[in-house]
Subunit: 252 residues, 4 copies
C-alpha cells in the first residue's frame, strides 16, 4: 500500500465533473462531517473515488454487515437537479495521524479535484469555543479577497482574528493547496462548544453553503438530529438543576 | 536492516502450505496471543519464518538462557493430525510502534500468507469492556458476508455496533489486506476487562475457532491458566471485601 | 509539496546579498521572533524568499483579509542605510514539528544563506528561567572562540554552564550548520520567565545585536510593547496583592 | 545531513583496530555513560570517529568555550598498556529520538566496529529498580551461551527474568546486531534506583568489565564521584529525618 492510494469507481471521470467541491471530514464537533454526509445522503450521490492511506489510523471499521473495511475518505458526485449545480463531496472517516500526512493528503485531494475540473472548493468544519452556543455564527476564511462580498452576503462572518490560531487540517490545507492549483474557495467553520457532535452548527454552515452556491437540499433529517441534540442537552441541564435543588433542599 | 525483514526457516515452503492462517499477536488482554502461543505449544509446530522490523520497539528480549534477541513475530506451520487440517500460526512479541508501520507490517504478513497458499485468515484478539466478564462473548467481524452463517454457527456474535470503534492493529488489517489478496476470514475478539492478561477470554475465542475450523487441541494448560487467573481474581476480591468489613467494624 | 520548499521572490539574488544573517523564529517567550519581526517592520525590508514545509504544523494562518495561507518562514533583505550594513533576516511562523525536521530545515536555511553570500549568522532567542527577570542578561553561544572578545564587548554573557541543556531548534542548529558552511556567528538568548511573550528580553537582545553589528534601528514600537507588558504584569501583581489584603481583612 | 553521518578522525583506521568494543551511551542512571567516559578520560584515548544524526535531539551542546556543537556520539581507541588489551569505546551525548532510529544507529555503530576489526562487544547500562541499592548487582545478557561461564566468573548475574522487559536502546541492539556480524558479547546492567546519576552502579559494572577483559584502569575519579553521591544521598536522608523529628517535636 502506497502512503496515499486513490481508487476510482467510475470509468468515465469526464461525466462526473463539477465546478464545486465541498469537503466535510471529521473534526471539531463533526460539524463539517455532518454536512458532507448529509449532502451525500439526501442527494443522488454517486461514489466516484476512494482514498486509503498509511497516514490514516490503523483502525478497521465495521460496516452494517459486520464486515471489516479500511478507514477511507470518499469522493461523491452529486448530479445537478432543477436549477441547482452539480458538485463533488469529499467525505469520510478520518484525517492524518501525522503533521506531514495532512500536507500529503490535502495535496492528493486537490489533485483529484483537478481531474474532476473543480473551480471552487468549500471546506466545512467547526470552531470550538468552549461553551454552548445558541445561534452559532459561521466564520469564513478565504482563498482570496475576491470572494469577500459573496461570502459575507451568504451570512458568514469574516474576521481576521477568528478562528484564533488559524485552521488545522484538511479544511485549511485544501484552500491553500487549491489556490496553488488555481481554484478559489472558502473555509466555513460553525461555532460549536467542541464537546459534542453538533448538528446545530452544521445547519448554520449548510445555510451559508446553500446561499453561496445555489445548492438546496432537504434538511429534514439534519433538523431532526439538531432537535434531538437540543432535547438531550436540555434534559441534562434540567437534571443538573434538579440535582442542585435537591442538594439545597435541607436548607428549606 | 530493512523496515520489514522476513527470514525463512525452511527451504521447502511448498511442503508447509496450509489453507488456514491464524493470527494472535499481543493486544488487549493478550487474548489472541495466548491462543496463538497455545496452538504453537501444544501442536507439532514448525517455525517457518521470522519477521523483524524497525517498526518494532527497540527493546531486545532475553531468552531462557539470558541470550538477547531481536523482538520478532514468527510464523509456524502446524501439520494436519487425524481429521484436523494443517494451519499456519502468526504469533510473537509485538505490533508496530507507529500507525504507518501497522499497515506496512500487515501487508507483509499477508504476502507471507500468499506464499503459503493461505485461503482463510482468522485473527484473534480481545475486546476491552472495562469490567470483569463472567462468560465472555466472542465478537466477530468478517471479510465478507459469505462467512456469516458459519461464524454465527460457531458461537460468535455478529453485531455491527461492536467492537465500538472497529478493530485496531493486525487483527483488523490482516482481514482487509487479506481480502485484497482474495483470502476470506474473520476477526474474533473475546470480551475481556482490559486490565488483565485474560486466559478465560482466550478459551472462549479458542472454542469458536475450533468449531469453525475443525481444529481441536488439548486445552489443559490453557484451562490451568484460566483457573489460576480466576483464583487470583477471587482472592483479590475477598481481600477487598474483608478490608471493607474491617473498615466498618467500628460501627458494630 | 516537497518536505522543504523554497520560493524565491526576487529574480536577481546577487543584488540582495549581505554579510550578516539574523534569525528570529518562534521560541521561548518569542524573544527572537519579536526582534526579527521588529527589524523587518522598521527596516526597508524586501522579502526575497519563503520557506514552506511538511515539517511545519498543518495549520493554515489567516492574513489581515481573512485569507488563508500556508505557515511559512520568510527571508528578508534589509538594505544598508547611512553607515549601517545591509543584512538578511529569517523570520516567520514556526519551527519543525519533529526532531528530524529541525535538522533538515536548518540545513535548508543555511543553503539559502550561502546563496546570499552570508558570512556571519546571529541567531536570537529566549532562555526560560522560570521567574520574572528585571534586567535580563543576554547569554551567548559561539560558532568558534574567535568571536569571544567582540561578543563580550557587545554586552553578552559567555558561560559554558548556560543555557543549561544547550540550545534547541534553529537558534542552535543554524550556528552549527553555518560553521560547516564556513560561516561564523553566535546565538544570543535573552533571559525570560518563559511564561510570557517578552519584549523586555527582546530589547536586551537587540541592544547586544546593535553593538555587535553596527545596525541601529528605531525601537519606539518595541519599547511600547515592553512598557505595555510591564504595565500589565504590574497590574496583575497589584490585583493579586489587593486580593490577598482583602482575604486577610477580616483579621483586622 | 544524512540520517546517520560518520566522520573519521584518523586516516589510518588499521592502526586503531581492537578486538574489544565497549559501549556506554546515556541511559538509566547514566551508569554506562559514566564508565565509558571514565575509560576515555583515564586511558590514553584517541578519538577516531564521530557520529551525528538527524535521529538525535535537535539540541546543540555548549563546549567549555561556550562554542556550540552538534550532539554526537564518539568512537575512541584506547591503546594497549602493559599486559592490557587495546579497545574501542563508544561514548557520547545521546540515543535516538525515535524507535526506528535506534535500529538504524545501532546498525551503523556495528558497521564501524566491523571496520575496526572488533570481535567482542560489551555494552554497559543501568537497570532501574525504583529504590536505593547498597550493593548493586550487575545483570548480564549475552550474545550466545558460549560466554556464560566467563561472564558469571567475572561477577555478573545471569537471570532470564532480569532485566524485566529486556534491554531498550543501544545496549541491547549492539549485541543483537553484533551477533549478525559475527561478534559475540554481553550487556552489563548495574542495578540503580533510576532516580540519580549513579557512579556506585558504574563502579560495579566497571569491576565486572575489568575482570572479564583484563582491562585495568585508575578508578580514583570514579570513586570520588561515588563517595560524593553517597555523601549527598546521606545528607538528604538526615535532613528528612531531622525534618520528621521536628514535625513531631510538639508531641514531646
Amino acid at each position: 500500500m502506497e502512503p496515499v492510494n486513490v481508487r476510482w469507481y467510475v470509468e468515465d471521470v469526464s461525466s462526473h465533473c463539477a465546478d464545486i467541491a465541498i469537503e466535510g471530514l471529521p473534526g471539531v464537533g463533526h460539524v463539517g462531517k455532518l454536512v458532507a454526509d448529509h449532502l451525500v445522503n439526501v442527494g443522488n450521490a454517486v461514489k466516484i473515488a476512494e482514498i486509503t492511506s498509511t497516514y490514516f489510523p490503523p483502525q478497521m471499521y465495521l460496516t452494517n454487515d459486520a464486515v471489516l473495511r479500511f478507514p477511507r475518505n470518499e469522493v461523491f458526485f452529486v448530479p445537478a437537479k432543477d436549477s441547482q449545480p452539480s458538485y463533488i463531496v469529499l467525505a469520510g472517516d478520518c484525517q492524518s495521524t501525522s503533521p506531514e500526512g495532512h500536507y500529503v493528503l490535502a495535496e492528493a485531494y486537490v489533485k483529484i479535484f483537478e481531474l474532476l475540473g473543480v473551480k471552487k472548493i468549500y471546506t466545512l468544519g467547526g470552531y470550538g469555543v468552549g461553551h454552548m452556543v445558541d445561534k452559532p455564527r459561521v466564520l469564513a476564511a478565504l482563498s482570496s479577497t475576491d470572494l469577500k462580498d459573496e461570502v459575507v452576503a451568504s451570512g458568514a462572518v469574516l474576521n481576521k482574528e477568528e478562528p484564533v490560531g488559524g485552521i488545522i487540517g484538511a479544511a485549511g490545507l485544501l484552500i491553500t493547496f487549491g489556490r496553488l492549483a488555481k481554484m478559489s474557495g472558502a473555509a466555513f467553520l460553525g461555532e460549536t462548544s467542541g464537546y459534542l457532535v453538533d448538528p446545530v452548527a452544521s445547519k448554520a454552515v449548510l445555510d451559508v453553503l446553500e446561499k453561496l452556491t445555489g445548492i438546496s437540499v432537504d434538511k429534514t433529517s439534519l433538523n431532526e438530529l439538531a432537535e434531538q441534540m437540543l432535547t438531550e442537552v436540555s434534559a441534562i441541564a434540567s437534571s443538573i438543576q434538579n440535582k442542585n435543588a435537591e442538594d439545597l433542599s435541607y436548607i428549606g
